[in-house]
Every structure is written in C-alpha cells, then in structure tokens.
C-alpha cells in the first residue's frame, strides 16, 4: 500500500481512523520481543547443556547415582566418583563465610539504619560499595597472601596448612558482607517509622527497639538476604580456587586443604580437557548440582519475601 501524500496543511491525511501500516513499528516490536525471550533461551541452554553432559556422566558404567551423592572419595583415576569431599569443603567455606557475614552484616545494617548519622552513612556506604565491587580474584589473593599467614601465625603453621578452607571462608565472608548489609538495610528501612515511634514512646531504648521491634518486623527481608548470601557463598569460585586447596579431601577441619565443588570445576576445566572424557562430563554433573542448589536457594528467598512480606497497615 503506497504512502498517502500529505494534505494541503502539510500533515499526513486525515481520512479515517483505521489502522495504517507501520512496518517499522512491527519490526521493532519483534526485535524487542526477541530480546525479552533471549533470557529464556539462556536458562534452557544452561539446563540442556549441563543436563546433557551430566547424563553422559551418569550413563558411564563407572558411575552410579547413589555413589555420586554418598561416596566419600572423588578420584577419577581409580573411578571413584563420590561427591561428598567436595560438598564438605563447600560446606566448610560457606559456614565460615556466614559466620563472618551474618553477624557483621546485620550489625552494620542495623547501625546504618538505626544509629548512623548522615555523615557516618556517607562514609560507610561508599566503603561497602567499594568492597562489593572488588573482583573476587583480588579477594583470593588477599586470602592466600594475608589471611592464611595470619591464621598460621595465630594457630601455628603445623596446625594450619598453606591451603585451607577456613582462610578462604573468612575472606569470602568479607566479600558477602556488603550484600547482606545492603539487602538487610533495605528491609529495615521499609519498616515504617510509626513502629519505631511506638516503641520509643513506650520507653524502650534504641537498642531494644532496633533488635526486638524493627529487626523482627523486617524478618522476611533479613531471611531473604541471608539465603542470597548463602547462595553466593556456595557459588563462589576464585577465592577457594586460590586459597582453599587443590584436591578433594573429606574433612570438616577448616585448617586443612580441601577442594570445593567450584574449585574442582575450575581446576579441571582450566587444564587439558578433551571433550569426550569422563572428566569433562563429571564437571558438568557437578555444575548441574551447583546450579540447582543455588537456583533453589534463590527461589526460596524470593518466595519468602513474597509470601511473608510483613503487612504493616
């Protein structure tokens, strides 16, 4: 259909109200919809690719599902594929990270939300943002060159190995602290002023108000923050790759070297890897497990916020 010529007033004609063809609009709309849809492809891609290789892994006669989840040795050379050593290492680092990040993160959030003057806030918040923006590789360097020697000095170099999960875990805690602080602070500031005023009005101290009134009132947000921090710790790679150790080790001793799930993947993938080896397939199996664990945690966190979001009015 040809474009109608403009009327005498210079504008396009005012004939009827019917739709005029606008090819440009339709094309652009299609491109935008495609962009929106790409994210679905990414998720499908992750599940498909990880699942495909994981399936190959489990189809291998040397591997059984039961052994995968309950076996205590991960040594591909002797065909042992039990994931527990990797899981315990991930667990140890995560626990130590949370030991640092949760109490400190909550404390800083409470401080920012309930105590801090605007001037303190303007110094503290940039510090947290900078901490959050430092790449994890730098944290890894810090863990290896500062934290480990520190631990070895404190506890003795016969107790603490050169590579150990505790050091990595503690530094990971510092990494995650800003995340927990910012999410918790958001939750705390969503608590309406009137609640605090009610508490002060009844003669409660600032601390009592903060911890016994405001914090519980923001419980869903705080829980969500902790779960997200957990998820982040589980998925963290470079700190443990550098400082925790290379080689699976079934232990809960934080002073010993052990390899986490992520550390293992990055070590194997970074070496010589042929596409059809069982090593290649095995890291995808671990990766799939990792994906599902973090996805589940993230979904739980979102559901907690959605379902238990406190209604104040």
């Amino acid at each position: 259909m040809s474009v109608p010529k403009n009327g005498a007033d210079g504008f396009r004609p005012k004939e009827n109200l019917k739709r005029k063809p606008r090819l440009g609009e339709t094309v652009i709309q299609g491109l935008l919809f495609f962009s929106g849809f790409v994210s679905i492809f990414v998720t499908i891609g992750i599940v498909y690719e990880l699942g495909k290789e994981a399936l190959l892994f489990f189809r291998n006669p040397a591997v059984t599902l039961v052994e995968f989840f309950t076996g205590t040795q991960w040594q591909p050379t002797i065909e042992e594929f039990g994931i527990l050593p990797l899981v315990t290492a991930t667990l140890t680092t995560t626990v130590f990270a949370m030991l640092i990040a949760i109490p400190l993160g909550l404390a800083v959030a409470i401080y920012l939300s309930e105590y801090a003057t605007p001037r303190t806030r303007s110094t503290l918040k940039p510090v947290l943002e900078v901490l959050a923006g430092i790449p994890t590789i730098v944290y890894g360097y810090f863990a290896l060159t500062f934290m480990t020697p520190l631990l070895r000095t404190i506890f003795g170099s016969d107790v603490v190995d050169i590579y150990n999960t505790g050091s990595a875990g503690l530094v990971m805690g510092i990494l995650i602290l800003p995340l927990i602080t910012s999410m918790t602070e958001d939750a705390l500031s969503a608590v309406p002023r009137s609640l605090r005023e009610a508490s002060y009005g009844l003669g409660a101290t600032k601390f009592e108000t903060a911890v016994q009134i405001v914090l519980p009132a923001a419980l869903s947000g705080v829980t969500a923050a902790i779960i997200v921090g957990l998820s982040r710790a589980i998925g963290e790679t470079m700190i443990v790759a550098l400082a925790a150790g290379a080689g699976p080790n079934l232990t809960l001793n934080p002073f010993k070297s052990a390899e986490t799930m992520t550390g293992h993947i990055v070590r194997i993938a970074g070496g010589d890897l042929s596409y059809d080896s069982i090593d290649y397939d095995s890291i995808f199996a671990i990766g799939l497990l990792l994906f599902f664990i973090t996805l589940t945690l993230n979904i739980i966190s979102q559901q907690i916020v959605r379902r238990f979001r406190e209604v104040y009015e």
Binding site: I28, L31, S35, G36, Y111, G133, I137, Y141, N298
Partner: protein, 415 residues
C-alpha cells in the same frame, strides 16, 4: 533525681541496666562496622605491600660478552639484535618465534626484551615485600652480598609503565600485562556489543510492551533467577555452546578467518565475550527496567496524547529520560565483567600467549586470569607481579566507575 519508692513495684527498676546494655551493644555494633573498613584497608595495604620491595637480579650471561665492536646490546641496532638472537638461540626456537610474529615486524624494544629474556637470561633470585624491605633493609643487603655476590639489588616498584606496556612472558623480569589488558578490552567490547542492545531491548519490552500474563511473568522471574546463577555455570554454558557447539563461528572458520589451522578452536575472544555477555545480561536488564520504570507517567501521557505510537514514545521520550540509569547499569555490568575470572578459565583463556589479540577470533587472556595464574605460582616474584597487576585492575575499575558517575551527572543535567 529523686529516688522515691517505685510506683509499680512489680516492674523491676532496670533502667540503668538496660541503658548499660544498650551502650555495650551500641559499641559492639560500631565495632562491627569498623571491621569492613579495616578489611578494605588491609586488602589495599596487602596489595601495595606485595607490589613494592627489594629485588635481587642476576643474569646468566654477562651482557658485556654480547657487545659487538664495543657497542653494548643496549645500543645495538635492530638488525644487530636479530643477528644476535639468531646466533644464540637454537634453530627451532628462533624459527618458532619468527613464525609467531616475523622479526621484521617486531619493534626493537620487543627484540631487546627477547634478548634479555632468552640470551642474557636475567632472573630474579630473590625478592622481598615492602614491609620486609623497609624494616630489614640492612639484613637483606647483607644476605644478598653473601648468597648472591653477582646479583644486583634494587628497590623497585613492580608496577611500572614498562610493566603495563610489555607483553606477557614466562620470565618475571620481562613480564608485562599488555597482552592481558588488551585481551580484557577486546573481550569487554564483545560483551557490551551483545549485552547492551539485548539487555535494553528486553527491558523496554518488559516495561513498555509486555502485558501482565503468565508468559511475561515467567520471563521476569527467569531474569531475576539468572542474576543469581554462579558465574562458573555461565562459564560452563559458554564452554559447551560457544566454544564447542558453535566452534565454526567462534573460531572464525566459518568466515574463512582462521589464523593458524593447527591450533584453531573456539577458545577465542568472541566466545569469551559472548559468555560474559550472557552473564551480565540480567544486570543490564534489571537496572534498565528500574530506570525505565522511574520515568514519570506524565511524560508518556503527553506523548501518547499527541498521537505518538508506542515506539515513538519510547525512543523520543522514555529512553532519553531513562538513559542515565541505563548507563549506570551498563557500567556496573562492565565492571563486573572486567573482574570475572572463573567463567573465562572454563571457556579457555590461554595460559601462555604473548601476542596481542587482533581479531575476535584471536586466542586471549585477560587481566584477572593473568592475576590468577601468577598468584597460583608459589614463587614470590610471581606474587609480586600479581600484586602489581591487581593495582592496575583496581585503577581500571576505579576510573570506569568514576566515568560512570560523571556520565550520569552529565546526562541528567540536560533539561
């Protein structure tokens, strides 16, 4: 204050205790906040500590023996240096270097560096960090004089302009991060080329075009979830799809652009850029969505009211208004991508390359990966190199974020 008999004796007189309690906890909380600041300072000091200090150098071959007619190697011409290399290196080694990049094409400084590296073979025999260098200077000097009589002892900063401009090398003395920096920049270029249009497009779609039905809600939830997926999983996705399945595209074979048929594979800048692009896509989408949502309704009303179409409204009014926020989100994404290590290790950054990337199909290494490799080596001198590289990375990120803030201010000042 008059301590008369309590009015309600059943309530314990605990006001003082409560205040004390509150004060103690207040101090505890304040102390906690200091921890973050202490951690940051400790990290920075630790890095600086590693990047400066005494170094003892020793050369295997005395450079004086390489002089030709009294002209030292520092002054010899490029051709003389090439001849020297040819004479001193094995035929295989010489030819390999020539194939990688013909000597005629290399600058003189590069050939000089090769000579230092392969002929004179200057090595670091020992090095100390800043703290040691400052507090034990005399002791160090004495030890070196005793243990390494032929060595030069110098107080250096490992971070020099040479360090930034030299290519990668396996010798700590001559190692530089030019290769890594360029690799990072090339990778980021493709990351943005992919992630920015698709990310902003998806955000526009979700905020302006999508109706509230189950399908679009799934898309939104999916994006929120993708933001929380560990970066190493993205690396594995990149390995499986971009490096392996799409090898003809990422290696350049499809475009007839294969640099070296024997070693061509999908572990290229393109694959790395695409992988990181997917990783930062949710960040760009979520930030852009927020920026678009903040555009006031009245602006859209005005535009629709004069008979504009949806795209005309978005392009001429919504996007310009949301641009500061969108750009901030993009800079955040770029900062994230520049610092990422794990996904690129999985995708297959090269461990020993020393030529600059020249195309999307080049092999690559990036700054964080270089840091990783050097930190992982047990020798102290590599730790020092790592520290210097970290400083460069942090400066890079700092200037990036500073320019983000500047850009955002500049954009929001217009009208």
């Amino acid at each position: 204050m008059n301590k008369a008999a309590p009015i309600h004796p059943e309530f314990a007189q605990n006001l003082d205790a409560r205040h004390r309690n509150g004060t103690i906890w207040h101090l505890v909380i304040q102390a906690s906040t200091i921890v973050g600041i202490i951690a940051l300072i400790a990290m920075l000091l630790n890095i600086i500590n590693g990047a400066l200090g005494y170094v003892a150098y020793e050369g295997r071959v005395d450079p004086a023996t390489l002089s030709v007619d009294g002209v030292t190697i520092e002054q010899q011409s490029k051709d003389q240096l090439i001849a020297l290399l040819q004479g001193k290196l094995s035929k295989g080694a010489y030819n390999k270097l020539d194939t990688e990049k013909p000597f005629a094409e290399r600058p003189r400084s590069e050939i000089y560096q090769l000579i230092l590296e392969r002929v004179v073979r200057i090595e670091v025999v020992d090095n100390w960090n800043l703290w040691q260098s400052l507090t034990q200077a005399d002791q160090i000097k004495a030890n070196v004089a005793q243990d390494y009589p032929n060595a030069d002892l110098k107080f250096v900063s490992w971070l020099t302009s040479d360090f930034v401009t030299r290519p990668q090398s396996s010798e700590p003395v001559t190692a530089g991060i030019r290769t890594a920096i360029l690799g990072s920049l090339w990778t980021i270029l493709f990351t943005i080329l992919i992630a920015f249009p698709m990310g902003v497009g998806a955000a526009i779609y979700l905020e302006e075009y999508a109706t509230d039905n189950w399908f679009n809600r799934i898309i939104q939830t999916n994006i929120n979830n993708l933001a929380g997926v560990p970066s190493i999983v993205y690396g594995m996705l990149g390995l499986a799809i971009f490096v392996r399945t799409l090898e003809p595209i990422t290696s350049g074979a499809l475009f007839g652009f294969v640099e070296d048929a024997t070693t061509a594979n999908g572990r290229t800048v393109l694959a790395a850029g695409l992988t990181l692009g997917l990783l930062v896509l949710p960040i760009i989408i979520i930030n852009s969505q927020e920026a678009i949502r903040a555009v006031p309704r009245s602006l859209r009303n005005a535009s629709f009211g004069v008979g504009a179409t949806k795209w005309q409204t978005v392009w001429s009014h919504v996007l310009p208004n949301a641009m500061p926020g969108i750009l901030t989100g993009t800079i955040l994404a770029v900062s994230r991508a520049i610092g990422e290590t794990a996904p690129l290790v999985v995708v297959g950054a090269s461990t020993a390359i020393n030529f600059d990337p020249t195309s999307p199909f080049s092999k690559f290494t990036t700054l964080p990966i270089q840091i990783y490799q050097w930190t992982a080596r047990p020798q102290d001198e590599f730790r020092a190199l790592a520290a210097a590289s970290i400083l460069v990375l942090l400066v890079l990120l700092l200037s990036l974020n500073a320019s983000a803030i500047l850009l955002r201010n500049r954009f929001s000042r217009r009208f």
